[in-house]
Symmetry: C2
Subunit: 221 residues, 2 copies
């Protein structure tokens, strides 16, 4: 009984999303449906549906009759995603605040610790996302949470594009400040720190595949 709740289209979409976010697929790369269909052992119909899912997440862009490409991004989009995240995560935290339990705050503390000890950017991102997810999840607003998740994926793209290798550990003071405010019931203060934290944009010179140096812009929060 292979009762799977997942359809092939969503499987393909999830796998492609991982590749785009992690940078294995570069911005502007063409996604050819027949090639992808062959790789996944399906026809191209589920692939087309997967493309639509990626488009909705803002990870791919479709031009009718001209194919699908990995969405490009520039500084303006990094800023845009950061500001949207700030607005929506603050809204979510305000609604979640009254439902936060000591157990949730403890789990968030642990996620922060895990992030501080992360050895590479993938591990750090996973812990960071867990921290933010834990705090906003109790808001009970599914549409809002889905929107925030999509923005997190976009943020991670920017992050990975800069820190593909050479990650250095650090202690996250903002996370601890947010938790301390929440423990004291100071919701406004927690939201203020969160808003600033998410909108912080890092600048880092990186080497591209072609050897040239260029500046990368990263959401770290």
């Amino acid at each position: 009984m292979t009762t799977r709740k997942e359809t092939k289209a969503t499987q393909i979409a999830r796998t492609l999303a991982e590749r785009i976010v992690s940078g294995k697929l570069e911005p502007g790369a063409r996604l050819r449906q027949d090639h992808i269909a062959e790789e996944f052992g399906t026809s191209h119909v589920p692939v087309r549906e997967a493309f639509r899912l990626l488009e909705a997440q803002g990870l791919a862009k479709n031009e009718p009759r001209r194919g699908v490409r990995v969405a490009a991004f520039d500084l303006n989009q990094v800023r845009e995603v950061a500001e949207m995240r700030a607005a929506l995560e603050v809204l979510a935290l305000r609604n979640a605040a009254q439902h936060l339990t000591p157990a949730i705050l403890a789990a968030a503390e642990e996620a922060t610790l895990e992030g501080d000890q992360a050895r590479d950017v993938m591990a750090w991102e996973a812990a960071n996302r867990r921290f933010h997810r834990l705090l906003v999840a109790p808001c009970g607003m599914p549409r809002l949470l889905a929107a925030i998740d999509d923005l997190h994926a976009a943020s991670a793209r920017f992050l990975f594009s800069a820190w593909r290798s050479n990650w250095e550990t650090r202690t996250d003071r903002d996370h601890r400040a947010i938790l301390e405010h929440l423990r004291r019931g100071e919701t406004d203060a927690a939201c203020a720190v969160l808003s600033r934290h998410v909108q912080w944009i890092g600048h880092k010179p990186i080497e591209t595949a072609s050897g040239k140096k260029r500046k990368a812009f990263v959401i770290e929060g």
Copy 2:
């Protein structure tokens, strides 16, 4: 030469979206791909892609192997959409404020007047949406604007579900207050009014098709 930039999937999605928003398709109604394909004179493949687009907008919900239904909505979702709109439209207005010209403000004034004179809810909604669109469009943040558009569609659904008929004209004081603040360069004040305005939720008893009375909750802003 039928060089259309619109694919059949998007045409179907747009038509179905209109029906869902206007209430011609009721919440929970099943969307059967073969029937819809026949109506539009296509095969079911473009229909399936249209379903994915509707899903992304939050207008339909898909359960694998069990079909697609028009998304339901309750008071919680009305509140959720209103709060998300408030957060995102304020963000957009803050970024748009410095690019607003007297010409744009005049056009927004005209949209307000048109809304005040509207004879039915459809006309009012069109004018209202135009007003909000004019003010936020200059922010230059395409992802943000797309998210706001989707939320507007959801708002309109709630609105039409209550005011299917018997609309009464009124003068919109909030719109005028927002414009006055913007003319004076008082961005914070304008955003404050906008936030309250969008979050205002109307309550109205309506008659359902089955004859029963029930309460409807409406975003009017």
